[in-house]
């Protein structure tokens, strides 16, 4: 498996989350909050798959959405997109392994 460094871009949207956390292959992305959006990016060494961990914090009923992309010259390539509501099954986050194409920007 060929390992390369890809820049992952994360965007989390939530009107009421008190905190969020996201990592790719256990590399934690620092997401800056601007109003209802938390965003950040980081270069991570990955092979043909990557483990994405996401944890939101907040009161029950808090809705969130997260999108993870790979930074590409022609625009971001989508890696995953998920939504949830804190206090419902799956609402406290997820661990998900995503496949990474040999050339994710193609």
């Amino acid at each position: 498996v060929v390992t390369r460094t890809l820049t992952f871009i994360a965007t989390v949207k939530s009107k009421s989350a008190t905190a969020v956390g996201l990592s790719v292959n256990n590399e934690v992305l620092d997401l800056a909050q601007d109003g209802e959006t938390w965003s950040g990016q980081k270069g991570v060494d990955v092979g043909d798959a990557a483990l994405v961990k996401f944890r939101p914090k907040g009161l029950d009923t808090t809705a969130w959405s997260v999108q993870l992309d790979i930074d590409c010259p022609n625009g971001p390539a989508k890696v995953l997109s998920q939504k949830g509501i804190i206090g419902t099954p799956g609402g406290a986050g997820f661990d998900q392994t995503v496949n990474i194409k040999p050339d994710p920007c193609a």
Binding site: S14, V28, D30, K57, G58, L59, T61, T62, G87, T88
Partner: protein, 303 residues
């Protein structure tokens, strides 16, 4: 530095924060009582709040990063001396402007533990809230010219805050020290200055009036202790507004210092946006203190 100069500096600082909101961050919650007090510092969005009970308009922001435990924030506010916010209250409005700076610690998100199957989360943070404000009013214990009764008050505040959210509950505890005055304990009066006395054959005179306070004015250091417990009521919306939720706030507001010691408690009912429980549209609070009841309306706009 004169009082006028101090006030101008305060207004200038306020203008800078409003012009460049990304400079700072931290905002008290709109889960607040009629006097604008709360122990909940629920970050999440920039918010402007209008408290009809205290004629207080405020604006605040948080600056947070997911991977850092440092929290920074600010809030600026102004209280009106008159205008639409005074319509619901007969209490004399003392114009006041000020702001606060918040610095604190926020628990780091643990990415190594699996997410709980229930989907509920727990979060906690602790803050220091450093505040300053300045107000102007008229107070005297004798019949004097209003200009001789005019006074300025510099309020300083140093409050430690602990907040925790867990499931449907938000808990807040705030305690510290604050410089206050005793205007709430003084009698509300009207200074009346005769500009043109009634002519000898008439009964109409022209007078100038000024609202103020009668009594012995005093300043002291209070030791406020505030608590809030907010509960999000499941599956309950405001009548006619399906995309809302209802939250109930049980609170206490106390001063444990020797001077003007009191314990105040109450209940608030707030309407929040559905699936955004910290986005408070408004609410109504009822409190009691020594058998005296007080009802206040709070409106909020979060953007």
């Amino acid at each position: 530095m004169t009082s006028t100069q101090s006030f101008r500096i305060l207004i200038a600082v306020t203008a800078v924060f409003l012009t460049f909101p990304s400079l700072g961050s931290a905002q008290q919650s709109a889960f607040q009582t009629g006097n604008g007090q709360t122990s909940l510092y629920l970050q999440g969005a920039t918010a402007a709040t209008l408290n009809f009970g205290d004629s207080k308009a405020s604006f605040g922001r948080y600056l947070r990063f997911s991977n850092r435990q440092l929290v920074l924030g600010y809030e600026v506010f102004a209280k009106a001396s008159s205008g639409v916010t005074t319509l619901l209250s007969s209490k004399i409005k003392v114009p006041e402007g000020g702001g606060s700076f918040v610095i604190g610690w926020h628990q780091k998100v643990d990415l190594n533990s699996p997410p709980p199957a229930s989907g509920s989360t727990t979060d906690q943070w602790a803050l220091l809230d450093l505040g300053y404000s300045r107000s102007a009013f008229y107070v005297s214990n004798a019949a004097v010219n209003p200009e001789d009764a005019k006074r300025y008050f510099n309020r300083f505040r140093f409050i430690g805050v602990y907040n925790r959210v867990q499931g449907r509950f938000a808990f807040g505890l705030a305690m510290g020290a604050e410089r206050r005055n005793n205007l709430d304990n003084l009698r509300q009066i009207t200074f009346q200055t005769t500009l043109l006395p009634a002519p000898t054959d008439g009964s109409t005179s022209i007078v100038k009036t000024q609202s103020g306070f009668l009594g012995i004015y005093d300043e002291y250091v209070a030791a406020p202790v505030y608590t809030d417990i907010v509960y999000l009521v499941p599956k309950l919306a405001a009548p006619g507004f399906a995309k809302t939720s209802i939250a109930i706030d049980g609170f206490t507001r106390s001063n444990i210092a020797d001077t003007n010691r009191f314990a105040d408690g109450g209940l608030g009912i707030f309407i929040t946006e559905k699936n955004a429980p910290t986005k408070v549209y408004g609410g109504i609070t009822g409190s009691w203190n020594g058998g005296k009841a007080k009802v206040a309306v709070v409106a909020s706009y979060v953007f």
